[in-house]
Symmetry: none
Subunit: 536 residues, 2 copies
């Protein structure tokens, strides 16, 4: 456990998931939590147990499946219902029973919201805060209180807003977090308000900023300058409406500009990798222009300054990109994958820096593939297959002669495209060479990837019976920028599991079936390798 | 002409064009200048005449082709060469002859850059600033001086940095602009430095912030709070590396938070239109999560708060979206209640409020569809088609009998799945009824969706020639939880555009091709509706 004097608190899995277009599976949430822990955040808010079955399941599985080195899990929930008791409130019970050592309670602190949205009295709201905090403290949990709409409330009725802070702190909340829920504040507002609240209450304060003015990072820093010691952020700034304060930008400023030691040793350099991997999991393109981690963040136009930059990079860069796991880029070439290449090589027991020819070849090949649309950030298995190839030990269990897929759909009752009844058929044929024998297999499936998956299995199951353990568990498709619509390059990520673990492969192609095949072929190859079969 | 006391200075056409991926034609630059003038900026920096033929041509054509109501054109250039005279410098002559009433001169203000990059003496650099400013002033131009790397320079050698500011101001520069060229500053740094420079020199100061810490907007506002009266920004924050201070966010804060009258009457409401139009011209997708102008900037998750928002929008929005030409948007999700559907319908121009049976039916159907995997959050067009169906006015231009798609791939050289050469073919056949006639069409494409798209077009283009205007612009696929892998439900989002706007539809199916078809069929239907065709 880290020293408790400053909290980097991540709420990607709860508030970040409010971003329009993000829809996380439980396994996505577990994978993101693991990445956030790699980055060294102190707290990971996992969701609202009891409010929806997905979040309840997350907390159940987290205790079994996550190995957190740095972070503590935090459950989010609301204060008890008006007119009741915390001890009798089922929602509070779900927080108590979540298994999370820390609970973040959201409380109303703007009198207008208490009266018009919560429809209770100002006093009852204070009682709800005090009662719920005390109850959870008595049950051994640490409690942080998020004061919703705090800055607007403080502007409208400062004395009531302060009463809520005091109620929370006096009942035993360790941190009272001032939230700019509507996101309309500017740094000078935040600095003044946090200073005043700290002086008036003496409570330990945190900050939670939304980015509606484009100032969430600056607002968070302003709060820290005014004495807040707990910052709530989300990876890549994901969040409702415009988004939340970006975890990476906030930590970048605190570590590199304020010189504060807010992450465990060695974690800052994970920033770029973690940022990109989370983007892949939520299925959003990594923001190429994101501070610190974007592929353009340290890209210098050649020409005027090129030679000067070479001699004196410090004169042209606000920080050393290596510190955040990024790199300077002079040309169009893409170095984004380098961090993962080195990590992966290390995992394989290969020090690439020891063999400059080999590492040069790998970097060149990765660059070339990334230029054509590949991304290895979230596709470790593909990268491992590539590394093995370049090391002169290619993995190969079968050869592909050709395949084809037919999909057909015939509506039975043609009403609306949203609800029509139909019959659908997909059929795939693969022609392979397995252990020197030519095999042809045809299978039906509920879609092209499923049919190809089944045809692959049926062609090889006699030779590799352990194939039965392999299961496709996730499948993501992204159309790449550059050209438009279906006339563009498609990238597919496929995740397989075999009970003991999961692996992800990436495929690129002119269309979704092509790209899926490329990923599928690797997923089978890697899966057979994992089962320990000798190669052909 | 506006009162000169505060300058909104735009440099999209010069510094913004440095963004990786932006490449503007002269006609693009002229169109953007016209839009910036619509938005009411006071100065438009058009480029560097003499430095490249495109910028020279821009200034020539601008004087003939642009009708500016609010803005003055500004030419950008450097101080004269070391060891020469401004009067003999061809680059200075190009500025003088540009026809622009205002010149922005870039000057070195960091002693290290003077010595290592410019390779001249500190005194000669001061002489270059003074000589060039005086010369252009004598020729009747107004001069602003951009002090490059000012903040880093001031940190390293404050007395020299101040000498540069004084040299510029004393030679007649109206504004001395402090530039955070490397973008590493935080608002507190900027506030302190601008305050000190103002007190030390008495010069009129401006600010030019890069966004490398994610604080460019806040840095610009901090400079204004410290007394700067000239802000340099770019539309949508375009610029080198991470980008520049976003014009729209800076103006939004100044106008709506500081309450300053920085734009001419009526211009603030142009913000959203101008932002999106400029994005289209530079050929970048408008940022859906951009403050003030993004389509998600005022999007609210439905359910919990929908009824509250209906009564009291001010409690849930940091500003009125109408003020910046944007609008509130309710995201319809599985939490949706009747209130949010009614709001959504109103947004779409359909009135449900009178008919509780109807709105109840819509809510039930939306909930049912969302349970089966649909998500209407990002698919307004699908929701509108559904609403029209439930209102007894279904939209229908064609009926589907059946379709089928065949994809085939045959590696030419079977090396590694990542790099093998192959030939690939996709072919789609659709059987439709269009205006009572049965049509069968087959088309090849680079993938299933593309082939189906082409087959649909080819089957209907005779009857609906405006189909040619429709273009698929984005395509997203998501595998839904519940069951795993390819044995799961697939959700597809398809976005089409017709030049005048974009619409998104959602499809769900047992496989990716099925789901794509459902979205595609709606996208065509909605597109035909938008083109104003009477239904069959």
């Amino acid at each position: 456990m880290r020293d408790d004097s400053f909290h980097v608190f991540d709420t990607t899995l709860r508030d970040g998931a409010q971003r329009e277009g993000i829809n996380l599976r439980v396994s996505d949430k577990l994978a993101i939590a693991q990445l956030l822990d790699d980055f060294g955040v102190a707290f990971i808010e996992g969701g609202w147990p009891g409010a929806n079955p997905k979040d309840t399941e997350f907390f159940q599985r987290a205790s079994r499946e996550l190995t957190l080195r740095h972070a503590q899990l935090t459950a989010f929930g609301a204060t008890r219902r008006a007119g009741g008791k915390a001890a009798d409130d089922p929602q509070v019970a779900a927080l108590r029973d979540s298994g999370a050592p820390v609970v973040t309670l959201v409380a109303k602190s703007d009198d207008r919201h208490v009266e018009r949205a919560l429809r209770t009295t100002l006093d009852e709201n204070l009682a709800m805060v005090a009662d719920t905090v005390s109850y959870l403290r008595e049950h051994g949990q640490r409690v942080f209180v998020d004061c919703e709409h705090f800055f607007d409330g403080y502007r409208h009725n400062p004395s009531y807003a302060l009463d809520v802070v005091r109620a929370a702190a006096e009942a035993g909340a360790d941190v009272v977090v001032l939230c700019d829920t509507n996101g309309g504040m500017l740094p000078s507002d935040v600095f003044r308000t946090v200073t005043e609240v700290r002086e008036a209450t003496g409570a330990r304060l945190g900050v939670h900023a939304q980015d509606d003015t484009g100032c969430a990072v600056a607002n968070t820093l302003a709060a820290v300058e005014a004495g807040a010691t707990h910052v709530q952020c989300t990876a890549n700034g994901y969040g409702e409406r415009v988004g939340n304060a970006n975890l990476f930008s906030v930590v970048g400023a605190l570590a590199l500009k304020h010189g504060r030691d807010v992450l465990p040793e060695g974690c800052l350099g994970e920033m770029t990798r973690v940022s990109h991997a989370i983007a892949e999991i939520v299925n959003l393109a990594p923001d190429t222009h994101q501070p610190y981690v974007g592929v353009s963040a340290f890209a210098h136009k050649a020409g005027l300054h090129a030679s000067a930059i070479k001699v004196d990079p410090d004169l042209y860069q606000h920080t050393d990109p290596e510190l955040v796991g990024n790199s300077m880029r002079m040309l169009v070439s893409d170095m984004a994958g380098r961090a993962s290449i080195e990590l992966k090589a290390k995992e394989l027991g290969l020090d690439l820096s020891g063999d400059r020819t080999l590492s040069g070849r790998v970097v060149d090949r990765v660059k070339g593939l990334e230029l054509s649309g590949y991304s290895f950030e979230a596709a470790d298995a593909s990268l491992e297959l590539l590394l093995r190839e370049e090391m002169g030990r290619p993995v190969r269990y079968f050869g592909t002669e050709s395949w084809r897929v037919l999909t057909e759909r015939r509506p039975r009752k043609d009403t609306s495209p949203l609800t029509s009844e139909y019959e659908s058929l997909t059929e795939a044929t693969v022609k392979l060479t397995v252990k020197g024998e030519r095999v042809i297999a045809t299978a039906e499936g509920n879609g092209p990837v499923n049919a190809l998956d089944r045809a692959l299995r049926s062609s090889m199951e006699g030779v590799y019976p352990e194939l039965a353990r392999l299961e496709l568990t996730d499948y993501k498709v992204r159309i790449l920028e550059g050209s438009s619509g279906t006339n563009a390059i498609t990238r597919t990520l496929i995740t397989f599991g075999d009970g003991a673990g999961e692996w992800t492969t990436v495929g690129v192609g002119a269309n979704v079936v092509d790209a899926s095949w490329v990923a599928l072929e690797q997923a089978f190859t890697y899966g057979l390798l994992r089962q320990g079969y000798p190669q052909e």
